[in-house]
Subunit: 359 residues, 2 copies
Amino acid sequence: MGLVRKIIRKITPYKAGKPIDETRRELGLRDIIKLASNENPLGVSPKALKAILKNSKDLNRYPDSYGYYLKKKLSRTFGVSSSNLVLGNGSDELIDVVIKTFVEEDENIITSASTFLEYAIIAGVNSRKVILAALKDFKYDLEGIRRKINKKTKLIFIANPNNPTGTYVNKRELDVFLKSIPKDVVVVLDEAYDTFIDVDDFPESLSYYKTRNVILLKTFSKAYGLAGLRIGFAIANSEFCSCMEKVRQPFNVNALAQAAALASLEDREFLRKTKKAIWAGKQYLYDSLDAIGLTYVPSVANFILVNVEKSGIKVFKKMLTRGVIVRDMQQYGLKDYIRITIGTMAENRKCINALKKVA
Amino acid sequence: MGLVRKIIRKITPYKAGKPIDETRRELGLRDIIKLASNENPLGVSPKALKAILKNSKDLNRYPDSYGYYLKKKLSRTFGVSSSNLVLGNGSDELIDVVIKTFVEEDENIITSASTFLEYAIIAGVNSRKVILAALKDFKYDLEGIRRKINKKTKLIFIANPNNPTGTYVNKRELDVFLKSIPKDVVVVLDEAYDTFIDVDDFPESLSYYKTRNVILLKTFSKAYGLAGLRIGFAIANSEFCSCMEKVRQPFNVNALAQAAALASLEDREFLRKTKKAIWAGKQYLYDSLDAIGLTYVPSVANFILVNVEKSGIKVFKKMLTRGVIVRDMQQYGLKDYIRITIGTMAENRKCINALKKVA
């Protein structure tokens, strides 16, 4: 251990949602549902599946380093140019790329105290200082973040909607915030869950990257149902992108992820079905939680943060024995909470039945 | 640009082998062969293909973060324990992981001046100093590297066999070297091409990691024909591995790469066929180059470094117009050379025919 960097020895690694297969091995259960990682419950888009089969024979070749065809398709879909896009091995990798591209050794990063854990973990691995601002009413406290900005602040991560709370900052709040911060601070808007939005005042984030130091992160892991293939992308001004392209590794995004992502952008029907399922499931879970008498944080994403009024980790473990994997919130500092991913209606019912018996 | 880190602005990014599709778009050619990226010319193992098809439906789920089944299979194959393994998004990613795990801000890294470029590029992105030792007779000069070790040296990268020269350091040389260096230096043996070895005195590298600070890197991108899926792995002592596990991202290796890699380990026939094709192709290329009167560096890998006695970049471009993609060696500081990947016999013939007319 003496040879390992000091900072690495201290890191608490990210704890992933418990996989179905692992639960099966450990508990010997057969029927298990996973509502722990905000995955798409409907599976993979049939068009994406077709693209995977079609492209599998050429896997002896390295993937297209630049992602030519996928970027072309993304350009048309989002109304940006290819030079405004950077592809990543999931948007996780782009967090690392952004930090390496922008944050000098002595500069710092600000984010929320209860948000996607990878911002702080990846910053730590890169020996960068992270300043955390507490949530306010389960929401990103932009005013609190602004107050923490100092001369060494280079980067701010905002998950919008926020994971694990499901809340969002609206257009007006974000506009005010972006105008109030110093011009040499870069803001990352991580919009992993933007497809599930069902409100009118969500920020029109595509309007920011041209005039402000804003980088958008988006992913194919959630609504597009491709978590297993690892692909996400950044949208930013072309100067930022050209530097991020130098920092990412040349073959960071595998060939099937590129092909499947392109095809899934063409499958509007799958996306519609997904939204419909999530929105219906959300209403069912709200109603059921109300009936049980548990409070929760209203969500614009595909998961719900539920106050179980006792140790979330105990509730998680008890639900596990009933074949329902949810997420305990200990790592997020929310000990009395669990996070439930919205599943198919059958999964939602099974989850509520388990929760009734346990909570 | 003012917001981007100084060190990033200066980076010269890795230049990938030119993809077939890009060449088609740019030159309007139909019949193109690629002998530029040391890929397996026989395609993908049929068993791996089957595994990809079987696992595609579950891609809405995140991959197994730990790689349970693949590590089990690798354990049996290489006679190590699962705790001695770390999986990466290609061995490229593991270069980044190793640097982040071991090299403090003020420590340095030594490698060869003409070797796989990613060691120096990734070190640069991480703001780590790299010291280069010249090759000696196209081989890694271990004695030269030893002389460059100073108090701040933490890591040494040795590509064995070396890319792009195809040479290797033998067991005796490596034994002497490992005994001669300080105990607090970590040595990475990158064995991306070890499957193609056809000599008896290659180091038995699996014997080192238990007693010395040695990390092996291996890949599925070459002999196993899975470059497009991105998967490699490290073998090291379990303390090193547990720290590297903290540094890698939780979902760095996609689910199909894990499944395909596992299946390809079971396809001994595909591996035999691959070796047979490479060895036969190598003899054909040696004989043909001798007949043309071009000198080359004898290789134990699946590529040959050829002295074209004029600008390698010009030869590369002329061969391109004849539908043959090879690799110019400008980035490696070998301006009069090209590197030819050994292909199928038909590809080797087409390559030699083009080279005859061009060189």
